[in-house]
């Protein structure tokens, strides 16, 4: 499947792009993280500590075990600091 993968805040800076389109066979977010980390050192470093990473699937907060069946957009970002 084709996924739009978005990055925000320091994840965007470490990976070097705000978004990318990827061909993926991932069934869960965790599978996708493994695929992305295998792409290059920047992805691997940014996604090394998942305790510092939050995820949204199709713009809804999700967790690392969330299914990607039917998903089109996955975003990775640090814990949010609004308000």
């Amino acid at each position: 499947m084709t996924l739009d993968v978005l990055y925000f805040a320091w994840l965007r800076e470490r990976i070097g792009v705000p978004r990318e389109r990827v061909e993926s066979r991932a069934e869960t977010v965790r599978d996708l993280v493994a695929e992305l980390a295998a792409r290059d050192d920047w992805h691997a470093a940014a996604l090394a500590d998942l305790s510092a990473v939050r995820v949204a699937v199709d713009q809804r907060l999700a967790d690392m075990d969330a299914s990607l069946a039917g998903a089109r957009e996955v975003a990775f970002f640090p814990p949010m600091t609004g308000g």
Partner: protein, 143 residues
């Protein structure tokens, strides 16, 4: 109910004109850029699309839970100077307790579930990203 996500400054008085007409109580909270550690501004990044949807969902949830008669949420992104408003919530209800609780609930949620990320800007330029506080996460468990 009204949700605004914008880079421009907002006019609180204009937004609150007529807000909660007919209610018994209106509570407003405004968050300002604080000058910690030589900070001169904040830069806020957000997730366009998700931000608006998440704020609207939560404003609706707050309205249901606290029987609010009106809710306003306005949140800025981009560069915001020291002392300037970052965001405001307003709640209207028949009685004050529901209006206070609804605003408190919305703020606790906004701090750690709305897709915004703050970066500190010092006199020498951009500094680090603001780290999320455990206390903000813990505050959500009150609800």
């Amino acid at each position: 109910m009204r949700v605004l996500v914008q880079s421009d400054p907002f006019d609180a008085a204009a937004l609150l004109s007529g807000f909660g007409a007919g209610a018994g109580a209106v509570v407003t909270f405004t968050g300002l850029v604080r000058g910690d550690g030589g900070l001169v501004a904040l830069e806020l990044e957000h997730y366009p699309g998700m931000t608006e949807a998440a704020l609207s969902d939560h404003a609706r949830a707050a309205a249901r839970r606290f029987a609010l008669t009106d809710v306003l949420v306005v949140h800025r992104f981009g560069r915001i100077e020291l002392g300037a408003p970052i965001m405001m919530v307003a709640t209207a209800a028949p009685h004050r307790r529901a209006a206070f609780d609804g605003a408190d609930f919305l703020m606790d949620w906004l701090k750690s579930r709305a897709p915004f990320w703050k970066r500190e800007i010092g006199a020498d330029g951009p500094g680090g990203w603001v780290a999320a506080k455990d206390a903000d996460e813990d505050a959500l468990s009150r609800w």
